[in-house]
Symmetry: C2
Subunit: 380 residues, 2 copies
Amino acid sequence: MGLPVVGMVGGGQLSRMTHQAAIAMGLSLRVLADATHDAAALVANGVTVGSHESLEDLRAFAQQCEVVTFDHEHVPGTLIAALEAEGFTVLPGSQALLHAQDKQVMRERLAALGVPVPAFAAVASPDDLTAFAHAHGWPVVLKAATGGYDGKGVWVVRSLEDASAVLASGTRLLAEQFVPLQRELAAVVARSPYGQAAAWPVVETVQSDGICVEVIAPAPDLPEERALEAQSLALRLAQELGVVGVLAVELFETAEGLLVNELAMRPHNSGHWTIEGARTSQFEQHLRAVLDYPLGSTTMTAPWVVMANLLGGEGDPDLDKRLHLLFAHDPALKVHLYGKDVRPGRKIGHVTALGSDLTDVRRRARVGAHYLRTGEWLTA
Amino acid sequence: MGLPVVGMVGGGQLSRMTHQAAIAMGLSLRVLADATHDAAALVANGVTVGSHESLEDLRAFAQQCEVVTFDHEHVPGTLIAALEAEGFTVLPGSQALLHAQDKQVMRERLAALGVPVPAFAAVASPDDLTAFAHAHGWPVVLKAATGGYDGKGVWVVRSLEDASAVLASGTRLLAEQFVPLQRELAAVVARSPYGQAAAWPVVETVQSDGICVEVIAPAPDLPEERALEAQSLALRLAQELGVVGVLAVELFETAEGLLVNELAMRPHNSGHWTIEGARTSQFEQHLRAVLDYPLGSTTMTAPWVVMANLLGGEGDPDLDKRLHLLFAHDPALKVHLYGKDVRPGRKIGHVTALGSDLTDVRRRARVGAHYLRTGEWLTA
């Protein structure tokens, strides 16, 4: 039938859910996974086991694909550039992706574009940090310039002593002003090479210990003009940075307005709600975008959609038994399991609830995720 | 995580879409396919190539699975019974499935249950057919007792001469009264071993040359009591026949009421609309049922949902190009392609439209399917 072959580097849950979307489009996602037990490798047919840090492995994988895309940001930019130089189609491209890989590059570029970001500076020494804290006060947020995720690579330090181990570790660091925020939002958009772009409603993301635990779509009580501001900002960044595929812009909502926290250029946890909650899911949209197909409708399918992440708890959860009881408890809850081994705090799935009453929808999602994690029913 | 392994015999689109649903449930469907290019074999990880008519192949497959189920009715009942005798869990079981495999057994059982069916008789000779036509008039519908699908194995004969080739073919035949019908309906339900059952809204199915081309959910202008009658009938049959999994009951709506046409004990074409159109799709529900999980909500996600089958047309359709143009034309249409080679009249995919205006939803589905098939835009 001549449909294009898309390959995704990385075998995690994003790749797994992208494969689900690919099936409907008549495609079969090819996956470059670290291991055969990776979330996507368990369910996709075209799996190559190899290293995303090996040009040889990446090249051999790219040779099987018309388009190569990513489920994470950990492929070294030099290797992506090398693939591009060899003529492979890699989307998002290395120049765009750099802004999701290197926080310092991202901060500097956004600041140059006049996009509101927290005050920041590269810090390499105690003196640098002291100077930054002198200007912006303690605490200071230290971030590894590259490689962090889910709260890893982020340290909130209240003094020079607090920071000494991190400073001594040799990690390239960025200092950021600790921003008193009202809440976190995310604006998720997609953009195609043709330049078409589409935005889903802006969502509220609720974090716990640096990990997203809940996403509420749309963000409750968000004034129309602020929602439009966030969407416009994300669409503008997608264009300015030349993003192809899904772009998630994590935002701080503060008393003074919106600040950009992080960027991701791939399907993102803040967009999982779109599987059932929007006419086009972020996974389908990412595929449409990297294939340069026209993008799909981002209309919501219900007034409120809440996604709660399922984090691994202690011990063996006997998910099979818990699923039985949860399905009996809430026949309309949608459960997504990633096939991953359970480890405390690890994202092993998510649940999505939809409906017209936010309180009820939110309660259902929380109850479901909490029960699957702990085996206990939330009573509040 | 200890989730059960489900195996599906048959690698067609039903298996392909069941695999999609399995991914979300943390499962990876195992598939026994005829060939590596089967629709499901292209996208699933755990594919075994083998014959569904070989006990050895079936047994080797069943040994990998906690539950074995089917995407078609072509596995000989004796082999299913043999697997059961060896202790494998096969759902639906051979005793239930027989009623979806053998039209004579089905007709006799339904008649015995007092379920309304067209007048019927087994016919083995011209004399048998003459006697049947004498009692019920011409034309007569002749059906192969086993093995038919999509209009194959069905002949409408207007005279003995008309029937001579079929009668001489050695096919075991059933004669049925030609029923003047107003339209065709389908009642799709699911039942678990525990005995829980759930029904989706009754749909109208539109056929062309014996092949379903369009499904409208819910069936327009269907009186509440008739919808309830159809659902009750399907739920009763599921229980009486001991069905586990999805049961689709194809119905004739006539001036005198409902008549049962055919039964299918698997996800069915008349339920494809549930992927986007119901909170729980028939594919997820089939998995829940065969795993004896509590069944999911069958609530519709929109007032009207229309599915149109995509049948293969003449020549190479360049689906990639047509997808581009269709996506541009209707960003909210959901397209499902099965990865199958295009042959005239073959089901190679389907499209689904949802909304609050039936005329518009129906038009969108028809326009989409027609365009993908022919490259031409319907103007009516």
